[in-house]
Symmetry: C2
Subunit: 242 residues, 2 copies
DNA sequence: CAGTGGTCTAGACCACGAT
DNA sequence: TCGTGGTCTAGACCACTGG
C-alpha cells in the first residue's frame, strides 16, 4: 500500500469556485469594489448549490480578497489600509496619505458607568462616570472600523459639547493639554455581533481584527481606553521596531 | 407603522446554540482543551441540523473560544499566548514564561530560488539560492504556528547542517555573528490552505493571523524574511510603544 | 471498525436593499 | 415589488481518527 501523501489532492468544488473567482480578481477582470455575480448565478454557472458557493465566498472573505455588504452582495476588496497603531498619525491623515477618502460618524455619546474592564483600566473612583463614544469610520464610503472609546469624565469636562468626529488626540491635546507619553496595544482576531456587525455590514459572528488600546499621560496614568473592531480585509498593521 | 429598530431581535437558532456553548465555556463547565459534544449530538439536543450547528461552532471559532482538530472534534481554547513581535524573546522562553510547553518540528529545509517576494526583500543576486526552512510550532501539543523562513545562503553557509529547531536568532548570533538592528512586521488576517491548513489541523480557507517579518542587520541589509501563519485563537499580539 | 468532522445536494422561507 | 443574501431543513457520502 502506498499513501496519497505525494499526490495532488482532488479539488473540491468549493475550492474550484474559489480559485475561479480569485483568478478573476487577480487578473483584474473584477475590479476593486465591483460586485461579484450573485450567489444564485454562481450556483448555475458551477452546477452547484448555495452552500458550496457560500463556502467558496467565505474562504475568499477570510483571505481578504472580497467583502460583503449585508444583503447587497459581495464585492472585491480594495488594497488594505496600512496602519501603524503606535504612530500618532490620525485616521484622516492616514487615509489621505493612501489616497483614500475617510469619514467618521459619531454613533453615540454617553455618560455611563461603562464596562468593568474600562473602569479598572482607567482606575476611576467608584462614583465617577465614564464618557463612552461610539464611532463608525469609513473609507471611500465603506464602513471599516467600529470603535468604543472610554474616557474618565473628570479629566475631560465638557467633552460632550465638542466636535467628536475628528481626531481625539488633537482635541485632547488642544483643549485639555493632554500629552500622550506611551500606549499599550493588544491585537487579536475576534468576532463581531449585533450593532457592531450591523454597522460594518457583516453577519453575526464574522471574524474581525480587534485592537484594544490604553493611552497614558505620564508613567502610569491611563486617560483613554479604546476597543476597535476592524473589517479584517480593510487593514494591515505595520509594526516597525527599534 | 413602527419599525423594529428599538426592539430586541429574535434569536436565530445558530446564535442560541452559540450562546449556550459560550455559557458553558465561560462558566468553566467545559474546561480548556476539553472536547465539545459532537456535532450530531448538538443536532439532537437542539432539534436542529448540522448546517446550523456548524454555523454556531464557526462563530465560536472566529471569536477564539474554541478550535478544531481535523476530524477529531472541537475543543475549548486555552488562554491566548501573549506575543510581542518586536521583543527579542524567543518562542521557547515566551511559552515557558506563560506556563506553556513549546515544541518545534522542522518540516523541511531546502536550497531553492524561493518566492519572488523573498528574493526581492533579501536583495539576492540572480543566481544566488535561498535557504527555506519550514517549521511547525506547538503549545501543549497543539499546533499553533506554521512558518516559512527565507535566508540568503551566502550569509549563512553550512546553515543546513545546524540544529534548526531551536531559536534562529540565537544561532545566527552565535555562529554567524549577526546582530539584528531592527525589523519590520506586517500583520493581517489571512487564510490557510493545503499543507499549512493540514498541519494546523484546519480546513482549507480557515482564517489565520499572518505575520510577515523582515529582519535587518545594519540600516538596510535584510538578512531574514519570515511568513508566519498563526492559529488565530492561540495568540494575542501585544505592542507597547514609546 | 465505529464515530468524527468535511463536503455536498436540493430545496425552503425570511429580512432587507434597491428601485 | 423583485432580487439579494441570511438562515434553515433533512438528508447523503466521503476521508480520516482512534480504538
Amino acid at each position: 500500500m502506498h499513501t496519497d501523501s505525494g499526490l495532488k489532492k482532488m479539488l473540491s468544488a468549493n475550492i474550484e469556485i474559489r480559485d475561479y473567482l480569485a483568478g478573476l480578481i487577480k487578473q483584474s477582470r473584477l475590479k476593486q469594489n465591483e460586485r461579484l455575480p450573485s450567489e444564485r448565478e454562481l450556483v448555475e454557472q458551477f452546477k452547484s448549490t448555495r452552500i458550496t458557493v457560500r463556502d467558496a465566498l467565505s474562504k475568499l472573505e477570510s483571505e481578504g480578497l472580497i467583502y460583503r455588504s449585508n444583503r447587497r452582495g459581495w464585492f472585491v476588496s480594495p488594497p488594505r489600509l496600512e496602519y501603524d497603531p503606535s504612530s500618532r498619525v490620525n485616521f484622516y491623515l492616514l487615509a489621505e496619505q493612501q489616497q483614500r477618502t475617510p469619514a467618521t460618524e459619531l454613533i453615540s455619546q454617553k455618560r455611563i458607568k461603562g464596562p468593568q474592564v474600562a473602569r479598572t483600566t482607567l482606575a476611576v473612583a467608584a462614583d465617577e462616570k465614564l464618557i463612552e463614544l461610539v464611532r463608525l469610520r469609513s473609507l471611500d464610503g465603506r464602513p471599516v472600523l467600529y470603535e468604543f472609546i472610554y474616557l474618565p469624565e473628570s479629566r475631560f469636562p465638557e467633552l460632550m459639547k465638542k466636535d467628536l468626529e475628528g481626531s481625539l488626540t488633537t482635541l485632547m491635546q488642544r483643549d485639555y493639554n493632554v500629552e500622550i507619553t506611551h500606549e499599550d496595544n493588544r491585537i487579536c482576531v475576534s468576532a463581531v455581533y449585533d450593532q457592531v456587525a450591523d454597522a460594518l455590514s457583516h453577519i453575526n459572528g464574522a471574524p474581525c481584527l480587534e485592537i484594544r488600546r490604553i493611552r497614558y499621560e505620564g508613567e502610569r496614568k491611563a486617560v483613554e481606553f479604546d476597543i476597535e473592531h476592524w473589517v479584517h480585509s480593510a487593514i494591515e498593521l505595520r509594526i516597525p521596531s527599534h
